[in-house]
Every structure is written in structure tokens, then in C-alpha cells.
Subunit: 300 residues, 2 copies
Amino acid sequence: MKTICIDLGGTRAKAGIIENGEIALYSVIPSHSQIPFEEVILNLEELINDLMEQSGSPDLSGIGIAIPGVVNVHTNRLQSVNQKFCGAVGFDFTGWSQERWGLPLVLENDARAALYGEWQFGSGRSYKNICLMTFGTGIGSACVLDEKMLYGGNNQAGILGGHFTVDYNGDLCNCGNRGCVEALASSWKLKELAATDQSEPDFKILFELYRQGNPKARSLAEKYMGIWSAGIVNMIHAYDPELFILHGGIMNSADIILPIIQEYIDKYAWISWGDIKIATSSSVDKIALLGMHHKLSLNQ
Amino acid sequence: MKTICIDLGGTRAKAGIIENGEIALYSVIPSHSQIPFEEVILNLEELINDLMEQSGSPDLSGIGIAIPGVVNVHTNRLQSVNQKFCGAVGFDFTGWSQERWGLPLVLENDARAALYGEWQFGSGRSYKNICLMTFGTGIGSACVLDEKMLYGGNNQAGILGGHFTVDYNGDLCNCGNRGCVEALASSWKLKELAATDQSEPDFKILFELYRQGNPKARSLAEKYMGIWSAGIVNMIHAYDPELFILHGGIMNSADIILPIIQEYIDKYAWISWGDIKIATSSSVDKIALLGMHHKLSLNQ
């Protein structure tokens, strides 16, 4: 089967035509998560039309879209968001796709899409119990439990790992909760680094400065890695996985991050059955597209 | 069917003969969680023999034991404990029951036993997604997800809600983790109250002093209720339940505790689909016995 899948991230929308688990065409555009959603939709239409035109063949089985937020997978609509794509809540993605291209559409939370991809095609193959945490503009998560993607009673289970409180006296989060991992150590929190003269600091810059020995960056990165680790241990305690996949652009600095997280888990996690495996994403930019392709195949 | 079920708590062992979901005989003895486990087992034997003798009828279908700790439900053995009944790890409960009475035995984590009871006979009837948290010597939890008790890959999922970090800089917990709910606000932590001249402070005394307006007790109880609430919101974010059951002796002070927890959840939890129901246990002392009875009936 052949599909068009889009991973609508907070900064970039990555898209591709996928054929039998292989990415045949790939394209990236800015996602503009803060503009009116009607404009985002127009951009997506252009992106999809471009891909269709480039591929030359109209024999598509469907469209898959991964998006940050709580997705109601029964209605194919966004149920709730946290700051990004606020105008998308309630938007009728199915109707839109039917009207424009006469194609079925599947909407899914972006971290779940990445985990579907890792589980079927990437670092998670052959595992039955997997957690994934993705570090970007926000912090997302997803969970495969007993060979099933976890959804919970109302679509929220597994995806709020970035919104477990790790400091009950900590800062308020965009989500409304207090002291979430995301409130304390996500890239939108990196304004703390602005004092080092970086006007738009991100994790890439943070870890570059860390490598250069910049004391402020080292202290900040160490604090962040401690908070991420506490959040990861909370996910391990919640879901009891055999594999934990770390996803997101920060994994370009996996050589620094992984040993610190591994040491923290060894020291603090209550794991009474053996050793949990920690892995990085097999492809930060593309795995969610493969995940959406897989999810579309389930609906065939 | 008729069973003997025991809820082996940190302080007391509650036991009963259960017939078709009704408690026919009920007995309580001190549990002595810190003595050698061989002596605990001798006490349990006496307890079981006494109940058998009192009931007069030998037609039992099995024995159910609820115990704190990580229970391997495949082998019927304790996989890991946290301070209580340390000598029980690896003990062959099945062999013991077969040898003494020729009866099948089922071992289960105590919070899961309570939740089985609430779900089948108590506050959780008709719900499909339920979390339970129990506040006692330690803090336990359990979770029913999509009409199934949650176990995870290695028996640990759902039961470590007391060991989610809510203060990543907080005190070390008995379990080895840092800043767990249990490390910050469980009854073994109540030595903080000892300064108010209570030699063996517990939650009952804490909330009695709170009602009397004792300033130290008020401030401590408010701190504890804040920490419990943060832990409960973490469970809600992890498991997406429609019902949250609060269990344990502290629920004698539910008139104080419930409104504060409810207000915290209303303010801080990310629930995008409606209102979660908060309930108290239908019977703190007996519901786990009914839960074990139900679990035995599943194995028939």
C-alpha cells in the first residue's frame, strides 16, 4: 500500500510518501504552530498536493497525520492541545481529507506515531512493553503495554509523561499543572540560557556550549538531564517497560546524555526483574511517518 | 465457592472465610512485618487453622493472600519488597499451602487485591478504568485499564504509584528512589510529628491534632495532602482513569482530605474529556479479602 504521512511538529512538518514501509519521497516545511489553523491547513494541502504531483501516481490508500496533543482516535479529532496548534481542536480532519482528495485519514498523537514506527520498523522491534519519550519544543511520550498501544479510558494514557510532576513546588506548566518535566526542562524553558547571549537557545546550542565547557551550559544541561532522568524513572515505575526509547533532536548528543540517564536509572529505578534497555530513536525525522503508515495499514 | 483470604498489611493481618462474595468469618492479628518470615508463616498457619476450625466445614476451594510488594503472579512468589516482610522474597507460597492443607493458593499485591475487591464488589463497580491509591505504612497503588488489571511486562505496572518522584531533589525513599510520594508523605515519615510529643505518631493522630487546631499538625497535614494530590495527579496523567479510589485508614478523615484533593485535581490535572470521579474505599479492612476471593474464582 502507498500512503502520504505527515509529522506535524512544533517547528517543522515532515512529510513523505510511504510505500510498503519505505519512504519513497520526503519533504519538510516550517509548521508555524502559532498561526491560525486554517493557514496551517492550507500549507498542509499544498504539501500534500506537491507530494502527489511529484510522485506522479494517484493510487494512494490514505493520509496519516501525527500531531502534538490529545487525539480522540475514535473521532479523528484533536481533543486537547498544549499551546501548539490551538485552533486545531475539534477540526474535522476526516471530512477535510474526504472533501479534498476522497481519501481516508488517520490522526494520531505524534509521540504515539513515533512509537508505532519504532515498534514496527525501528528500535522497538520484538519488544512487548516499550516506553518512548520525545524531547523537543515540548516533551511527549507514548507506551506499548503487552503488545498494544496504550490509550486509556479517554485517549490520554501514555502520552502525558512530560506532564508528570517531578517538583510539586515547581513552576507552573503551560498545561496547567505544577512542576512537570516539561515545565522544568523542555526547550521552551531554555530562555534560562539566553543570559549566555544566545537569542534563540535550543538543545543543540545548549549541548554545543556544554562540549565547549561553558560553565552555565554545563550546569544547566546537568540540571536538565537530572530532571529528564527523574521523569524517565517515573515512566518506568508507571508502565514497567523492557525497553525505553529516547526520541528527539537532543539525541544528537546521545554520547553525553545516555550515560547520565543510564547511571540515574541504575541508581534510582525500582526494577526487580533484570535490566531495562535504553535505546535512541532509529530515525528522529522519519520514524513517525512510518508509524502513521503502519496505523493506516491497521485500518485497511 | 468458599475461600480463606488474608490481607497481610504492614501492621495487621486481616483474614476471613469468604463464601460467594460474603465474609462469613473475620479475624485480625498483628502482622509483625519485621520479624523473621518463618515466624510470620507460623502465625498465618495458626490464623488459617483457627478459621478452619471455627467455620467447621472443610470444603474450601483455596487460599488467597494479599501482601505488600512486587508479586510475580506467574510463580506465586514475591519478586521484591520495600522494607516489609523482606524474608518473604522467593518463599514458595504454593508449596506451603499444598503441603499444609492441600489447597491451591493465589498471591497478589495488596493494592491490586483491594482494587479487585472495589471493582467487583465495591466503589468501582461498572467502571472500566480505575486507579486506587492506598495510604498506610507505605503508599500502594493499582490500576484497572480497559477492564483489565494492569500488570505490565514484569508484574510492576500500576503498583508503584507511591514511588513516582514528586520532588527530584527530595529525600531518598526506602525503595532507593528520590523524592517519592512515599518518601515525603507516608506514615513512616510522620516522625516529623514526634516533636509534638506523640511517641508513635500516625495519620489518625495527625488528623485528630489537625481538628484540634494544632498548628504543627495543620501545617504538616496540609503539606502531606499537597504531596498526595501531586501523586494522584501523576497517576491520573499516567493511566487516564474515570474513577480514582482513595483507600487506607486515613479515609476516616475523608471529610478533611477529599475536598482538598478534589480542589487540587480540578486545578492542576490535565483531563480533557469530562470529570473524574473521586471515591473512598467501600471497606478499608475487608475489601482486599473480597478481592482475593474474586481472584481465586478466576482461577477455578
